[in-house]
């Protein structure tokens, strides 16, 4: 596409100034209530300046907050860690911490704040609203990878779908997947999207890393485990570790990018996908009157209901 070759951005036509103007107009039009953008509330104050805070902090007085600042660059450290102090490699994970207010911001200051709270989200939001967001579908992203990620393109379509469900659902990332998995075209409908929703134009590095893990699981021989479906030894091992840790009361939060850990949220979601797919058919299909009992005929006084 000649047009695309001339453009400077990867996913949007060079138009940061237009995006900024549109964002400010969108916030201005909302009046005192402001707008919710992902987990942030953006509001124009009476003095023509802007204020940004966590949308769940709206009712809090300034003296109840940990950080009150007029420096938009403070947004970087706010966005860097969760309330528990964990690193946030993905800024659109729904774990933006609370307890801060950035105020007295100019339009440029509001833009900078969003740049650090939610990198690239405002330009992608604007491009999608105009129907000009350019997406990169998974096959292209996968084909570009090299080194330790060079094989991710071998992940099956079903594996890619599971990884998307595990990595990109609203409960773990607030962007909407706008890129296609290769089977179906990208499913983004700008008109149907809520006004503050932000599209994801291309699989991120966290997804690529999870896809690599999913491929390793997919490639290790799986066998049918009654009631659980087809699982490989690593998946069974993961299940055992999770249940063991939960039973011991030691199942604790794992860093969201740590895919080496069995109890990593996205890895558990990946496993949950497989288990859900393998949900056993209704018991009626069993040839035995007592599920699990080897005797073909029910014995007198059988304890199994």
């Amino acid at each position: 596409m000649l047009d695309a070759a001339r453009e400077a951005g990867t996913h949007v036509r060079a138009g940061v100034a237009d995006a900024r103007a549109a964002l400010l107009a969108w916030v201005d039009a909302a009046g005192d209530a402001g707008r919710i953008f992902l987990e942030a509330n953006l509001r124009r104050s009476g003095d023509g300046l802007y204020a940004v805070r966590h949308h769940r902090d709206l009712g809090l007085a300034a003296d109840a907050l940990d950080i009150v600042s007029a420096d938009p660059f403070r947004a970087r450290k706010i966005a860097q860690t969760t309330a528990a102090g964990e690193h946030r490699p993905l800024k659109t994970a729904p774990n933006l911490r609370r307890g801060w207010l950035l105020h007295g911001l100019s339009g440029a200051g509001l833009w900078t704040t969003l740049d650090y709270l939610y990198p690239a989200c405002a330009v992608h939001w604007y491009a999608a609203s105009r129907g000009v967001l350019r997406v990169t579908d998974w096959p292209e992203t996968a084909a570009r990878q090299s080194g330790m990620y060079g094989a991710v393109g071998l992940l099956s379509p079903e594996g890619v779908r599971d990884a998307v469900a595990a990595c990109c659902d609203d409960s773990v990332c607030l962007r909407r997947v706008a890129w296609g998995t290769g089977e179906t075209p990208a499913a983004v409908d700008a008109a149907a999207a809520p006004s503050g929703s932000v599209p994801c134009p291309e699989a991120c590095s966290l997804f690529i890393s999870l896809a690599r893990k999913a491929l390793a699981l997919e490639r290790s021989p799986r066998s049918l485990i009654p009631g659980l479906g087809e699982l490989g030894p690593k998946e069974v091992g993961q299940l055992r570790e999770i249940v063991g840790a939960a039973a011991a009361g030691t199942l604790s939060a794992v860093r969201e990018g740590d895919f080496a850990e069995p109890a990593n949220r996205r890895r558990m979601r990946l496993l949950a996908q497989r288990l859900e797919r393998a949900a056993p058919p209704a018991a009626a299909s069993s040839i035995f009157p007592c599920e699990g009992c080897p005797r073909p005929v029910r014995c007198a006084g059988c304890p199994i209901p």
């Binding site: 001339r6 990867t10 060079a14 970087r76 490699p89 991120c204 590095s205 860093r255 740590d258």
Partner: protein
Amino acid sequence: MQALIIVGHGSHLNAESSAPVFQHAEAIRARGFFHEVRECFWKEEPSMREIFDLVEADEVYVVPLFISEGYFTEEVIPRELGLDGPAPSTTQRGRKIIHYCGPIGTHRLMTRMILQRAEESAGLSDEQARETGLIVIGHGTERNAKSADAIYRVAEEARELGVFGSVETGFLDQPPEVDEVLAAMPQRRVVLVPFFVAEGWHTQETIPDDLGINRPADSALSELDGRTIFYAAPVGTFPEITEIVLERTREAGAAIPEADPALEAEYA
């Protein structure tokens, strides 16, 4: 208008990895030489794939905050940013001209900077430094010989300058290993400089633990077998790296003031 983009590796696991990128970006932003100073990463956000969605300036300088030339600077970064080739290269895209500069670790000012920082942070006079050993510690890997080359070169230059009594290289993943090099050092005082971009698992835990010295979180100073060991911060976190980033853009034609003559004299 001109923009600077500092590219870092970043991490899915810890914040220390990207910290030097933000540190030098902030320092350069304060100077006001560039209309925009941006950070982007391989493993964090904004990603290299998104950064050109955000940059407004037409004249763009890209400096990788990496320690050596190799897989990342020659393959991954040009590919992800859509550049025409490895550094030094210039890519024209629409109205934008993108100048891709070499990594910080191979810059000619690096050796002087390490020597000065090693002396200063260990609190050594020039005379004391001459009786002190210096070990430049690298990760090393068999996959990328260039990673070690940058360290050998720095060590050789440092040896020629004669600031320290002796200068050696030690590695984590290839011979010679750091602990053996340290054991063979004749001096009673040794400064260790990790040739790493950022603090992380290796600099904070594996290196000090393997050597039996204090972790940096506890103390930079250790007594080991009757010797005094000073363990410096990783080179990427040195404030002087800001100057090297600027110097990279200057070499690529950025319109910024000449370097402070005193600085040039100090390092030249």
